[in-house]
């Protein structure tokens, strides 16, 4: 089984919206409740490296992409999660799984207002500590 098949096999219907737009870029969606299990599968069991996460303010909600690199083949598997509640988007933190996720979750919190439950140290990373609350620079206020 190649790596994509292994993920499909482990997650079954919990992973959807599979797309391989270019040879080494794979995107798939999971529900936010399944992010911890999916991240654990990719990082701990399949031995992928966490590259980074990127969050975008879209009309449908806040979309987070967790990018994992499978260095043996050079593929990037990006897990897509949509947080529909834009007023208070919330998701489990994956920092308890591996410390590499700590900083980016802090950054996504302060720039987009996403609450990461279970994060060990959710405080400002880049902005001043007295940055006005509720003002998120990467939100698209229309």
């Amino acid at each position: 089984m190649n790596i994509e098949e292994k993920i499909k096999d482990a997650l079954c219907s919990r992973a959807s919206g599979w797309s391989r737009h270019s040879p080494k870029r794979v995107y798939f969606s999971v529900r936010k409740e399944d992010i911890l299990e999916t991240a654990k599968l990719l990082f701990k069991e399949l031995g992928m490296r966490f590259s980074i996460a990127s969050a975008t303010d879209t009309p449908q909600g806040i979309e987070i992409l967790y990018h994992f690199s499978f260095d043996k083949t050079g593929e990037i598997f990006s897990i897509r999660v949509l947080l529909e509640d834009k007023k208070s988007p919330k998701i489990d933190s994956i920092a308890p799984l591996f410390p590499a996720a700590e900083w980016i979750e802090r950054e996504m919190w302060e720039l987009l207002g996403i609450e990461f439950s279970g994060h060990p140290n959710l405080k400002h990373l880049l902005l001043v500590d007295d940055w006005p609350a509720g003002k998120y620079p990467l939100r698209h206020e229309r």
Binding site: L127, V128, W131, P137
Partner: protein, 143 residues
């Protein structure tokens, strides 16, 4: 110009304050001290504390965190202390002027005596800028 200012034109002690740079100007400033340009032969040297500085060399775009630091540094420096803004970011913020994290340019925080534009300014341009500043000081003495 008093004896202190006169002494300045002979040997400049520079303190490097980076507000929010991409580091290119900073590396080119350090380059001035390496064998090809070697400004130490002109008596210019970098110091570790702003209290020993004659010249404050500022690079980068001020952001909310560095703005207060820069102001404090300037206040701590023994006067007269001249300020040189090195690089386009310090001169006018260029493309970062619209950033949400940049409140104002350098010359609204501290008074700037010389601007050395460039991205980054070549070491030769920096030397030329320092020489211009020294000449400006000398002219002020003659008045």
């Amino acid at each position: 110009m008093n004896i202190k200012q006169k002494a300045l034109t002979k040997s400049l002690f520079a303190y490097h304050a980076a507000t929010s740079p991409c580091n290119n100007c900073d590396i080119e400033i350090l380059d001035l001290f390496t064998p090809r340009h070697d400004v130490e032969r002109f008596g210019i040297t970098l110091v570790g504390s702003v209290r020993h500085a004659d010249v404050l060399v500022v690079t980068g775009v001020p952001n909310y965190k560095t703005k207060e630091k820069l102001k404090t540094l300037y206040e701590q420096a023994a006067k007269p202390c001249f300020v040189i803004a090195v690089g386009n970011c310090a001169c006018g913020r260029i493309m970062f002027r619209d950033s949400y994290n940049s409140p104002c340019p350098v010359d609204e925080i501290v008074p700037v005596d010389a601007y050395i534009p460039g991205c980054p300014p070549k070491p030769e341009a920096m030397i030329a800028g320092i020489v211009k500043l020294i000449e400006k000081l000398k002219k002020a003495e003659k008045k």
